[in-house]
């Protein structure tokens, strides 16, 4: 393990939504920490709660329970004024570059809004800062008076990145920033994120469902299933020696760019669909689809445990 200090600590975070009489446990008791300057990848199927986790962590949703500590300070009990100041530290990049920019505002105003809210720059300084931010994400500074619809998906995503950077944050939640882009542009955006991280010492929580992209960008990777975290390890360790049967199944789904190997390799194909998060299975949520399910999996939920140094998993195989 490296000795960088902890920037974000998440303790037993919960976010439940009530839908009619039911409760949807979108994020159910997850705990992890993110070191300063690292990239934590979060993967999982659609609807497993990874986006909700990211949004709850930034207090865009009110958490049902648990705590989030930024540099050792809890953000859950901050009042409006303190939270506004805290927002300068933590920002978000969104999934859909077509929905995340206000269509009625110019690019300059979209990026400048951050400066206006926190009173960071006005007049000529504001303009210069906006142009500087546009250059930072390799966009033409002259485009600040244009509207979002005039840009391509990749360009829009970079505008979103510039907006997040305007307040000089330390931590950015990237909520599937590349999944709406086409493959050629994905690399461009990921490389930009990496460059910015290096230049500005940013810390990322990178939410995605593209396993190979997550491996490429992340230092550590967390795997989520039905609102629970099932495994967390250094990127290499996770990909080489996945412990949780769900991670093993996920990894076996990555195609290998070698026809010989691809043809002969064994895939773990999961049976059935993801159960409804409104009514998850008892005990271990994954047991209904797990090829290694045992009687005790139904009886009790597995404990989140450090199976190997720095390698956490929640599975009865290791309890």
């Amino acid at each position: 393990m490296d000795n960088r200090d902890t920037l974000i600590e998440v303790r037993n975070l919960k976010k439940f939504f009530s839908i009619g009489d039911n409760t949807l446990k979108a994020v159910n008791d997850i705990s992890f920490e993110i070191k300063r300057g690292e990239t934590l990848g979060v993967v999982g199927e659609s609807g497993c709660g990874k986006s909700t986790a990211g949004r709850t962590l930034l207090r865009l949703y009110d958490a049902t329970g648990g705590d989030v500590l930024f540099e050792g300070k809890s953000i859950m009990n901050l009042n409006n004024q303190e939270m506004k100041a805290m927002r300068r530290n933590m920002q978000m990049i969104f999934q859909d570059p077509y929905a995340s920019l206000n269509p009625r505002m110019t690019v300059g105003d979209i990026i400048g809004e951050a400066l206006d809210i926190h009173g960071l720059a006005t007049g000529q300084k504001r303009k210069e800062r906006i142009q500087e931010l546009l250059s930072l994400v390799s966009l033409n500074p002259e485009h600040m008076n244009r509207f979002p619809h005039e840009f391509s998906g990749g360009q829009r995503q970079r505008i979103g990145i510039a907006r997040a950077l305007a307040v000089e944050p330390k931590f950015i939640v990237c909520d599937e920033p590349i999944s709406a882009l086409d493959v050629s542009v994905q690399a461009q955006v990921v490389n930009l994120l990496e460059q910015l991280q290096e230049k500005m010492g940013l810390t990322y929580m990178f939410i995605a469902h593209d396993l190979s992209m997550v491996k490429y960008i992340s230092d550590r990777v967390a795997v989520m299933y039905l609102g629970k975290m099932v495994e967390l390890a250094e990127s290499d360790a996770l990909y080489e020696k996945p412990l949780h049967p769900y991670t093993q199944a996920l990894l076996s789904a990555i195609p290998i760019p070698d026809p010989e190997v691809e043809r002969n390799r064994e895939r773990i194909v999961l049976q059935g669909d993801v159960p409804s998060p409104m009514n998850p299975p008892s005990g271990c949520h994954f047991r209904t689809r797990c090829p290694k399910a045992m009687p005790e999996c139904a009886a009790s939920a597995p404990v989140w445990k450090e199976v190997e140094p720095g390698h956490f998993a929640a599975c009865h195989l290791y309890n």
Binding site: R55, L58, L60, N80, M83, K84, R87, R88, M90, Q91, M92, F94, Q95, D96, A99, S100, L101, N102, P103, R104, M105, E113, A114, I117, H118, S138, L139, N140, H143, N145, R146, F147, E150, F151, Q155, G160, R163, V167
Partner: protein, 305 residues
């Protein structure tokens, strides 16, 4: 054929800046709407008619030597002539001038009702949609209850309680009229508030005021304006109708509705007395409706059938 060798090829430098240059002229949402609206000939003709109507309603009563209330019993029920373009009525009053005084009342009622609807509707619907949950539930149920009261009943009650006149008509129309606007705005708010750009503004630390006035309302402005432009003709129609059945403005004030009412018994012998106000009511409402439709198509081309 010439053999192609390696020397024939050389890498060209690609300037990324060049590749991302945007050549198209910048177009804001409203200039785009205007561009689409201009292509719609019917809507443009309606718009010109409406503007002309507005100008005439303001100017003609100012410059004319006739007025709407002076009676001339010797010259009653005259046919349209050079002296009285639209003829005179049963008290010898000039129909042409009365039409333009009537236009003033119609436009006043139409615009005032639309404006009041706009203010109440946007505030009510905006609060309900933005805060959602229980607030939304209670506010929209209140609107539903108001909407369920038959509006003629409200009008008759108001006429009894208040003095008949333009002000009372406007109050009567807006007491339930704002509900349509509130529903539109609420729907827009519910749809917009979960968009990622609103979430992005919240993660930047934007407060409710900024969210509502910078992000939500500007994006809901299209449907709001369209609803507004369709409120005007329905208010004009309601005023004419109320005046026609005797619940509107009192004599001697000229309104297209009262003029039609007075012209009705004389339809057989002096048809111009009914025809002119009736034509003005119809054409004005038609023009507002066609313009509103055109505006809707221009604001949201996807709605065009």
């Amino acid at each position: 054929m010439q053999q192609l060798t390696k020397e024939h090829f050389e890498p060209i430098s690609v300037d990324l800046r060049q590749a991302e240059a945007i050549k198209r002229p910048s177009l804001s949402f409203w200039s785009d709407v205007w561009r689409r609206l201009k292509m719609n000939k019917v809507a443009m003709a309606s718009m010109i008619f409406i503007v002309a109507l507005l100008v005439c309603a303001i100017v003609i009563p100012l410059v004319t030597h006739n007025d709407y209330f002076t009676t001339d019993l010797a010259g009653k029920n005259k046919k349209p002539s050079a002296e009285h373009w639209f003829g005179t009525d049963d008290l010898g009053r000039d129909v042409f001038v009365r039409i333009w005084y009537g236009a003033r009342i119609s436009l006043e009622v139409g615009l005032a009702a639309a404006f009041i609807d706009l203010i109440i509707g946007v505030i009510w619907g905006g609060i309900a949609g933005f805060y959602g949950g229980r607030v939304d539930e209670i506010m929209m149920r209140i609107a539903d209850i108001l909407f369920a009261i038959p509006y003629l009943l409200v009008v008759i009650l108001l006429m009894v309680v208040l003095e008949p006149g333009v002000g009372t008509i406007i109050i009567a129309l807006t007491i339930t009229g704002w509900i349509g606007m509130a529903r539109i705005v609420r729907g827009q708010m519910l749809q917009l508030k979960n968009q990622e750009f609103v979430l992005a503004a919240r993660s930047l630390g934007a407060d409710s005021n900024r969210l509502i006035f910078k992000h939500l309302i500007p994006n809901a402005l299209g449907p709001i304006i369209v609803t507004l432009s369709l409120t005007v003709p329905s208010a004009i129609f309601a005023e004419s109708f109320l005046s026609f059945i005797g619940l509107g403005v009192a004599a001697p004030i000229a309104s297209w509705g009262t003029m039609s009412n007075e012209g009705l018994p004389a339809m057989k012998y002096y048809p111009w007395r009914l025809m002119f106000p009736a034509v003005f009511i119809s054409v004005t409402i038609l023009a507002f409706n066609l313009f509103g439709d055109g505006l809707r198509d221009a604001v949201d081309p996807r709605l065009r059938k």
